[in-house]
Symmetry: C2
Subunit: 496 residues, 2 copies
């Protein structure tokens, strides 16, 4: 088996155990690890590092693609290893540390991290730790179920630790398309013209001598945390489908739609899943994370091709997709997140982008990250890369949270991640607001009428009416605009 | 003269006076007019339309490139012609009508308007009105001092009115580079790899039969409203220059820097002007508006090439540049604003973007548009196109306004146009905050220490200290976060 997995035989003497590999990481270093939405993260070296840190404290800056599986962020946080973390996380223990100010979290657009590294605008990566399916004869690293930032981390770092994961099928080789833009100012166009454009090589090309250690592992990826659809996600999906069918009838879209992006999470997954029941056909995806719904759509004959940066699947789907990866492979590409989320490609292809809002306001500003304006949830992720550059930027959310004590439609969002300029369509289970070409006052009318839960509607309408009396392009009562959030903090609910 | 200006002789019979041309515009239409930052707007037809509307009321949706000169927006507003306006304006009378809710203003990223038109997501343009230097034998329209959205308006509209402006020198021909991306999904890369890349044709290519009327005019562009530099803009320029020199010393930039963008206005113009006194050389610009400073830098031998969408100059500079346009022309390109501001090109070239903030907060969120959170000033313009995709996104502002009754650095901005994710460097006359790679709490420390005016510093530091006690990734006191703006509204000043 090793002959296939580690084809550069001169590297065989680099095989060490995780503890020894982890010794390459020392206090104060910046470490770039693989892993994107709980897929393809290095699994052994981070644990060995946490283990060592319990005896011999150290702190690092940890960069990844996005979130890690196997509770690695929890384990590393509890071992006090993480001083600084970027560009995304979704871990409950780490989140608490971030909100307590114990970990400095830099919440970045997922397309941008390696751009800043490449131009020296972030501290350089000292060590890259990358999970691999195999290492080629030339020393090329074949990623596993995600690419994330692994390619640029490995290219930029002076030392690379590779974890060869025997549980990842060898047939993953050929799935990846590794392309890294040149340093400025002599950069060419990225030649992707469709989701299935292959423009790079199927491995991360680095000189083999940079591979400082190789660790053999065999635990599989964590399963996705996506929940089943429910009556409300079904209603959201229904509103959105009706709207898209209307666009088709108006001749603004065909039944092939345009390449789809869906953010991670239950609602976006449910929306996409519902497309199996629609007249849409020959669909494509140009997205970041490919979830269960991607494969459901393929199995239903609806989806022809999907490009992403990772595959994050439920237990059942995970087993089946990986065992039949040869079957799916010709209709899949995994790319570096810089490319899956690149403004250039997203604007060119004309993506229909579906992302989840934590809350939105009567003018269509969206908060994706901060509960009550102060507490970080996960991070902006790729939502900004897609929303800004999409053909159509859609945000979905349920109208209520926490048994109705929270309205997700508020007078003013407590934190802005996506401004009114970047939000075209809002959908809750109550209805859909089409904001295209509308001025703020018109946006408020349609959002209050269509998206707010009835138990909050009159209170919100009343806020807007009173704000109108004061005038302005975007009327607000500043002394009251954030009062719903403040009441929630003080009393546990937004309204008396 | 006409032989040179109107070279398709079959079009000679389309010459009419402005009133007759304006009759092609009727109530309820969407009209796309040329004009970008007070340069190259159609000058006669809008006046004739306003004149007619005083006797015979009508309302239109008016789209332009950006702001218009000759107080046209005032005149049209006073004649109640404008029902809806997009994507930018900077007119005091129109602004009042927008803030009173009499005109629906759709404030858009300048790169996006024609993308939405092309895909049918905005009501179609019925008539385009475009100022021209000349019409070629084939019917191609040669723009004047701006391109803006004129090319796509003319291509998309069924009828085009051309104003041939005899005061615009014939030598402007050859300055423009007209390139329009194809409709999706079959779009190719935009092949610009440097500011001087020419990728299109020097005129707007439309079938001559679409030209429904031609009006001959001769009034020149309005002069720029940019003010002279002062001690504070000099200090801002000094801080920024010192910072860029530091980046050069650290090897992160060369003395050629990277292509520069500077937003319209006094401060950005002053910053750029100050580069004449620095070691920087062989500079280039990839910007939207080219102001006096562009030509000062060229005259000083500092700037090799400038790409923009318009030229907006002071009286003196205007006369000189236009009379010597042959001299400057080989170092200038004017492009459609979709291309000058295109995310694809901006990300590829790696722009150093310098834009003006109306206010920013302790976490680096920027408000570019709304005074006191509700009153529209001008619009977001191209600042978002550049800030999001730049190599380095810089915002500049004076620390105080209105005799110190307003601090431009506040606890929480009253409206967000650019989120913390898109803001790298903040500069006031007090100092510079380098936010790259910092978490929100670190951002607050450096912003409060470096950018706030001393008369507000302790109050702002006190807000942050008290917010910290409540914790969170982005600590705030929601009940107090907008209180400075509310006090300003009630008492005329932010602090007691």
């Amino acid at each position: 088996m090793f002959r296939d997995r580690l084809r550069n035989t001169r590297l065989w003497d680099r095989i060490v155990d995780a503890a020894e590999a982890a010794r390459l990481i020392t206090d104060g270093m910046t470490v770039g690890m693989s892993g994107f939405t709980r897929a393809g993260e290095a699994k052994a070296v981070p644990l060995a590092l946490a283990e060592r840190a319990r005896r011999d404290p150290l702190k690092i800056t940890l960069m990844t693609g996005a979130s890690l599986g196997h509770n690695l962020d929890s384990t590393l946080t509890e071992a006090h290893v993480i001083g600084r973390r970027m560009p995304f996380q979704s871990d409950p223990v780490l989140r608490r540390a971030i909100n307590a100010g114990d970990v400095m979290f830099v919440d970045q657009h997922l397309s941008e991290t390696v751009e800043f590294l490449r131009s020296g605008q972030l501290a350089p990566v000292d060590v890259a730790v990358v999970e691999a399916t195999a290492i080629t004869e030339g020393g090329g690293i074949v990623p596993t179920t995600s690419v994330g930032n692994s390619a640029s981390f490995a290219v930029l770092a002076p030392k690379v630790i590779v974890e060869i994961n025997l549980s990842q099928p060898e047939a993953l080789e050929g799935l990846h398309d590794i392309y890294i833009p040149a340093a400025r100012p002599s950069r060419e166009a990225i030649p992707i013209v469709a989701p299935d454009s292959r423009i790079g090589v199927p491995f991360i090309p680095i000189p083999p001598e940079k591979i400082a250690a190789i660790v053999v592992t065999q635990s599989s990826d964590s399963d996705s945390a996506v929940e089943a659809s429910d009556a409300e996600t079904d209603a959201i999906a229904w509103h959105l489908t009706e709207f898209l069918l209307h666009e088709v009838r108006r001749g603004r879209l065909t039944e092939k739609l345009l390449p789809l992006q869906a953010g991670i999470g239950t609602i976006a997954n449910a929306v996409l899943q519902s497309f199996t029941e629609t007249p849409f056909h020959d669909l494509t995806m140009y997205s970041e994370v490919l979830q269960d719904s991607t494969f459901d759509l393929m199995d239903a004959g609806k989806l022809g091709f999907a490009s992403g940066s990772s595959m994050t699947l439920s237990t059942q789907k995970h087993r089946r997709v990986l065992s039949e990866i040869e079957h799916y492979k010709r209709r899949l590409i995994l790319r570096p997140q810089e490319i899956s989320n690149h403004p250039e490609v997203i604007r060119r292809l004309g993506i229909i982008a579906i992302n989840t809002a934590l809350e939105f306001d009567i003018y269509g500003n969206v908060n994706s990250t901060h509960v009550g304006g102060t507490q970080m949830m996960n991070g902006i992720g790729g939502s900004g890369d897609f929303a800004r550059n999409a053909h159509m930027s859609i945000f979905v959310t349920k109208s209520l949270a926490k048994n109705g004590t929270i309205s997700r439609v508020v007078p003013m969002v407590s934190h802005v991640d996506h401004t009114e300029h970047d939000v075209d369509i809002l959908v809750t289970e109550i209805g859909l607001a089409d904001l295209r070409g509308l001025a703020p006052r018109e946006r408020a009318e349609v959002i209050v009428a269509n998206c707010v839960h009835p138990i909050y509607r009159e209170t919100l309408a009343d806020y807007y009416r009173r704000a109108l009396l004061r005038g302005g392009h975007t009327p607000h009562l500043l002394e009251e605009a954030l009062s719903w959030h403040d009441a929630l903090r003080r009393t546990g609910k937004m309204l008396p």
